[in-house]
Structures are given as structure tokens and as C-alpha cells.
Symmetry: C2
Subunit: 192 residues, 2 copies
DNA sequence: TGAACTTTTTTACAACGTGTTGAATAATTA
DNA sequence: TAATTATTCAACACGTTGTAAAAAAGTTCA
């Protein structure tokens, strides 16, 4: 995805890590996680198996690091959406930027969010969305409806992530902009 | 959970299968799926490792069978809720029965739905909920809002399952009845 | 360019998990 | 009790894991 790295780093490391990551994404499209071995990853990445261990402790560790990178990317995007606009419509813009980012990296997100093989990624995104919603509804929550705030937050954040997942699984039949609008509407009437 | 078996079956088989299932649920509370081996399951279940293979092809196969049983249980419950009431309020009752069932088997559901270790179970429940909602909104969908029907279904079903998951993770701080009411309210305003 | 440094490869190893066998033992059924 | 069926035991070949040491290849910088 993006850099995250300003210090000079050996191009061999960059190359190897990219090869390994691509190989994993590749394999995740084809088979369940329990069929994916370091052997297969190395083979697919055209690197030596030992090299894998020079970069990651094991497959689990690798996925955690990738999920961390994803989370940083998404947080950056959402932060800059908040900065750009200060005229009320931030959450609509945030959603739109997020969906655009996901669409741009569709191959990646379809695998890590669209399949249920890598729950860490979904978990990470859910957490980010929950926090964003929590922050965003700090004042604006209408308790008058008789709905518990935490239930509304659970409801809204799962609805968002679930819709994104379904959208990915169906090969993104709507543009990010259109889906963002739909979601904003649904979200307004429902959650808060 | 329930029987699913009316024909006489060797009590040793019942005992062994129950021991194995309990062992898996036990282990899933303690460690990630990739740390769980047939060895460990057999050890925890106090059976011989070979016996495991007399009942299941592998751990994956075992989880699929357990998810299938869960799905059958839930479908039974939702069916009988539909039968019982014909006076409009079926979806509220269905939700209530479902949540009661989950609460009764809290230990089981907290593991298979509450942790992200067994996506098959969540997947199965999502499918059931999606189908129920799809059926239920066949006529009553208000297109006037400008919201796509499929988006609304994605949104509503993920919201439901996500809220249930969060409720389990937080050790069910609301009664099934209360949560069902909350969900019905949120669902009404939002999805359809 | 050449020398110092870092990364990758090669080969090898022990430990462990898998899935399957055939024969024994134990429990259930009738 | 006898016949049947489930479980255990011991053992096997095979693949995966994570680590090690040394050789080879690629990068950096004077």
C-alpha cells in the first residue's frame, strides 16, 4: 500500500517483503488458511523458506503485521478526511474516502475483509469504526428513543463493516460514492 | 445441544463425540485455532487420538459439522417462532427466541460467535439472518427512501449479527428480551 | 572500482503433527 | 453368553516447523 518508511531501507528487504505479502494474498484467494504453509508462501514468492523467518516469526505474526499496516493506512485516510472538511459533513466524507481507498486496493481488501479467512483484519477495522462512531456520537446521541448508546454503537459499526464486506464479496456493484451516500442515509435514521 | 438423532445410537459414540466437542470448545477459549491440534483435543477429551479420526476427518471437518448442528438448532427455533405467532409480531418474537437460545447456551456461543476463531459459525448465522430478512422484506420494503434493497439487507443482517456478537463478548449485559426490543426498534427505523 | 556490510540461499537438523494401518481390548446389544 | 461395534495401542511414512552455520549474492559508500 503506502510507504510508512522514510528511512533508507535495503531494497532487497522491500522486494522480499512485497513478494511474501503478494504470495500470501494470492494463496488466500485459493485456499483456506490452514492449508497455507510457510513452504507454500516461500514457493509462491520465489524465495527461500528460511528467508521468510528472517522477516516474520510465523504466518500469524505476518498477518498481524499486515493488519497493523492496514489499520495505519485507514487511520491516516480517516484523519485527513476529518482535517479537510470542518463543515459538518465529515462522517459522510470519511466514509467516502474509506470506500475509495478500499476500492483502489480492491484485490487486497476483497481477500482480507471479503473472505472470512483473516478475522484479524475485520477485527481491526471494526475497532476503528467503533471508535470513530463512539467519538462522533459523544454529544449527538438521542437517548430519547429509548435505545442504549452502546447497543446503537454495536449496531451501527457492525452494520457498516458488514455492508462493506458484502459489497466486496459482490465485487463492488456500487461506486464508493454511491454506497457512502446509502450508508450515510441508513446510518442517520438508525444508529444515533 | 439438542438431539437431531432419533435412531438408537451406541452410547459410546454419543459420549465420545460430546467429549470431543466439549474439549474443542474448551480449547477455543484458551488458544488460537492454529495452536489447537488433534493431539490436544484428544488429550483434553481423554480419548485416544485415533478415536478422533473415527468421527471426524480433521478439525476443519469437525467444525463444519458443529456449525451445521448449530444452524439446524437455530433454524428450528426460528421456524417454531414463526409458527407460534401469526399476529404480525413474528420478527420480534423470532429475535427473542433466538437470543434466549443463545443465552441458554452462552458458553458455547460466546466461543463460536464471540471469538473470531471460528468464522464458519458466524458465517452460518449471517446466512440464516440474511435469508430471514430477505424473506421478511419481500413485500414490505419501502423503496421510496432511495435505499437499495440489497444494501438495506446487508446493513440489517450485519447489524443484527454484529450486535449479538458484541453482546456475547460483553457477557450479555442485557436480557434477551430487552435486547430483542432494542434491536427491533433499531431495525424498524433503519433497514426496511 | 573495491572493500565492508547486509541479505538471501543452501544444507541440515530435531521436534512435532498428521492421517492411516492392523491387531488388542473394552463396551454394548440382543 | 455370543456377536457386534467402538475404542485403544503401537507403529509407520510423510510433511511442517523453527533454527543453525556457512556460502553466495546484492548493496552501500569511500
Amino acid at each position: 500500500m503506502t510507504d510508512h518508511e522514510n528511512t533508507r531501507v535495503d531494497p532487497r528487504i522491500l522486494r522480499t517483503r512485497q513478494l511474501i505479502k503478494d504470495a500470501l494474498i494470492d494463496l488466500l484467494q485459493e485456499m483456506e488458511l490452514n492449508k497455507i504453509t510457510v513452504n507454500r508462501i516461500a514457493e509462491r514468492a520465489t524465495i527461500n523458506r528460511v528467508t521468510f523467518y528472517l522477516h516474520y516469526r510465523d504466518i500469524q505474526d505476518m498477518m498481524e503485521k499486515m493488519a497493523q499496516e492496514m489499520a495505519e493506512d485507514i487511520e491516516d485516510i480517516m484523519r485527513s478526511a476529518t482535517d479537510k472538511e470542518s463543515t459538518g459533513e465529515t462522517d459522510s466524507l470519511m466514509l467516502e474516502s474509506l470506500l475509495e481507498h478500499i476500492a483502489e486496493n480492491g484485490k487486497f481488501y476483497k481477500v482480507v475483509l471479503g473472505t472470512r479467512r483473516t478475522p484479524i483484519f475485520t477485527e481491526r477495522l471494526l475497532k476503528i469504526l467503533t471508535e470513530a462512531i463512539t467519538k462522533r456520537t459523544e454529544n449527538s446521541f438521542r437517548a430519547a428513543t429509548g435505545i442504549q448508546r452502546d447497543v446503537a454503537i454495536w449496531y451501527g459499526s457492525s452494520a457498516l463493516i458488514g455492508t462493506i464486506v458484502a459489497w466486496l464479496r459482490n465485487d463492488m456493484p456500487y461506486t464508493p460514492q454511491y454506497l457512502a451516500k446509502q450508508l450515510t442515509m441508513l446510518f442517520r435514521i438508525g444508529g444515533k
